[in-house]
Amino acid sequence: MASITLDRVSKTYPGGVRAVHEASLAFADGEFVVLVGPSGCGKSTLLRMVAGLETITGGAVSIGGRVVNDVPPKDRDVAMVFQNYALYPHMTVRRNMAFGLLRRRRHGGFAGLFRGAERRTELAAIDRRVDEVARTLGIEPYLDRLPRALSGGQRQRVALGRALVRDPQVFLFDEPLSNLDARLRIEMRAEIREMHRRTGATMVYVTHDQEEAMTLADRMVVMRGGVVQQFGTPSECYGRPANRFVAGFVGTPVMNFVDGSVAGGTFTGGGLSLALPAGRWPALPAGPVALGVRPDRIRVSAAQGDVAVTVRAIERLGDRMDVVLDAGATRLVARIENDDALVEGGPARATLDGASAHLFAPGEDGVRIADAGG
């Protein structure tokens, strides 16, 4: 097992395109880390640099304390699961899973011809290992089939199996569940968590789906434009987002932002006015800020509330509903308990919870203004 350290790792393509800029991260041994961000944010590039599939143009990647910048992928002791499975179409499931092991035999290839007994023992051991892994993944019945005869979910299980049989120090996942339907995705998520628990290996997982990141990660890395925005546990990223981008990226529905300014302990902007609780911000700035309020921190009712709003749209989710509100010039989304008194196009009143609100420096990238919680 191994820790992974990235020290100011950068990737600049020959054309000058900067995919990753000076990422410095340390993943602990046995940790499950998820790299998440919108497409093109450099998360896959970062993963592929750990795998050795992408050259590193700056900085150093270490696995288990060893700098691997110039170590070819096969010698890094990593296994990778790809989005489109990348199973060898001409090999049976068994051979797909055994392929990596066959290459690593001591008595393989030409030399093996002269050491029949050792060769047979090795092959039998590989067979046993494949059977064992196939059993845990429930793909034993398909071992003699070709990948094309399997469903998407079965193929992804085989891809997981191919990584597992190798028993590597590090598992890398590049959006492995993106091609599966929603139900299967949730099932496979649990499977991957279980795989992590069983192997205790270090796992790095790339996804663009923040919900997937939140459910899987011990810690997550939120990236944008090749730059790491935040590295922390899912609850840290959700509860104490480093900046406005992370705040908006993590959590659904997306956090509401209102641009305005603070004066005398009160936020004013976009036709709203909100008294900020005293003592929550040790150093409350005066001047322009952005206010961030999560949708589940807005209460809406037909009669009671601080602000008069208009209900633009209602999306029912079953037990709860999302309500899109117009409050003066500001559009807000609130997630509330079902309330039949609200009608689309009708008036209502809303209350924003100042105690759980966040303040950000102005602008798209504004950093969060530290509150008493850190």
């Binding site: 795998a51 050795g52 599939l53 070819p72 992928p73 096969k74 990593v78 296994a79 990778m80 790809f82 989005q83 489109n84 499975y85 990348a86 199973l87 060898y88 179409p89 001409h90 392929f99 990596g100 290459r103 690593r104 990948p147 094309r148 191919r162």
Partner: protein
């Protein structure tokens, strides 16, 4: 109703076309089974009547093979056959292995000058063989390779521009992730080529192998230029010497019998490889 008429018309056209294409082959079969005089008459008169055999002379075949080539009776054919097999098999093997390897390099390995080199390689296809014939002969003579199989076989191991192009186009469609998976599974470029690319490009390999086999088997000019002694002659050259030996076309029935015999391997090969072959011509995609 209209569909039936269309079908009948299409079949009539196909059958008609087939007959036109088959006629020369049939004429060869007919003449090869005639008596010497009848065969002679058929070549002089031509006409459809000459394509009919009333009294087939099956003995023409063993006789033709016995008389083929020079030297000891009966050895000529076997020697030439062995020569043809050696040259053709080695050439086919060399072309498939080298063309797929070079195709992989052009399709997947990024290296300085890859694109200009590819264009230069394609450019060599524009050169007619006649242009390079004399320089090549001088080159091989200086190497001391004349009157050996080397000038026929060795170039095949240095890839063929057209087949490299075909392999490259096909390999470019293999998903990148497959090659990356193989790299993580411990394969180098040679391992990827052998374990992943060659099995996935079987349709291209079938085309390359069949074309190369037939082209080499039937090749007359190159063996004629480079192989000077009779023992080295391939079948196509041996057929020629067989004709000269009897002054033009005196024993045309034997020539036809020998020619037909030499065609058999090509026909068998085509039939065997047909399925792969058609598949390769029809589709260019590798499904993952």
């Amino acid at each position: 109703m209209r569909r039936t008429t269309g079908t009948i018309l299409a079949y009539a056209l196909l059958v008609g076309g087939t007959l036109v294409f088959l006629y020369p082959l049939w004429w060869m079969v007919a003449v090869s089974l005639k008596t010497p005089d009848a065969a002679q008459a058929a070549t002089v008169q031509g006409g459809f009547a000459s394509a009919w055999v009333s009294d087939p002379q099956w003995g023409n075949y063993p006789e033709a093979l016995r008389e083929m080539g020079s030297g000891e009776k009966g050895r000529g054919f076997l020697d030439a056959l062995a020569n043809s097999v050696v040259v053709t098999v080695l050439t086919t093997l060399g072309t498939v292995l080298s063309s797929s390897l070079v195709g992989l390099a052009f399709a997947r390995i990024r290296f300085r000058g890859s694109r200009p080199m590819f264009l230069v390689m394609l450019g060599t296809m524009m050169l007619p063989a006649q242009v390079t014939m004399i320089p090549l002969f001088i080159l091989f003579r200086n190497l001391g390779w004349v009157d050996t199989f080397l000038p026929l076989v060795v170039p095949a191991f240095f890839a063929n521009a057209f087949f490299v192009f075909m392999y490259r186009q096909f390999i470019a469609q293999v998903p990148e992730a497959l090659l990356e998976a193989a790299r993580l599974d411990g394969q180098g470029w040679l391992g990827i080529w052998w374990h992943v690319i060659l099995p996935l490009t079987r349709p291209v390999t079938a085309i390359t192998a069949v074309f190369t086999f037939i082209g080499t088997w039937n090749d007359f000019l190159a063996p004629l230029i480079y192989l000077q002694s009779d023992e080295q002659a391939t079948l196509s050259v041996a057929l020629n010497s067989f004709r000269n030996q009897y002054g033009g076309i005196t024993k045309v029935h034997l020539l036809m019998a020998a020619s037909l015999t030499t065609m058999v391997p090509c026909i068998l090969l085509f039939m065997a490889a047909q399925r792969q072959f058609i598949e390769g011509l029809g589709k260019g995609a590798v499904k993952g």
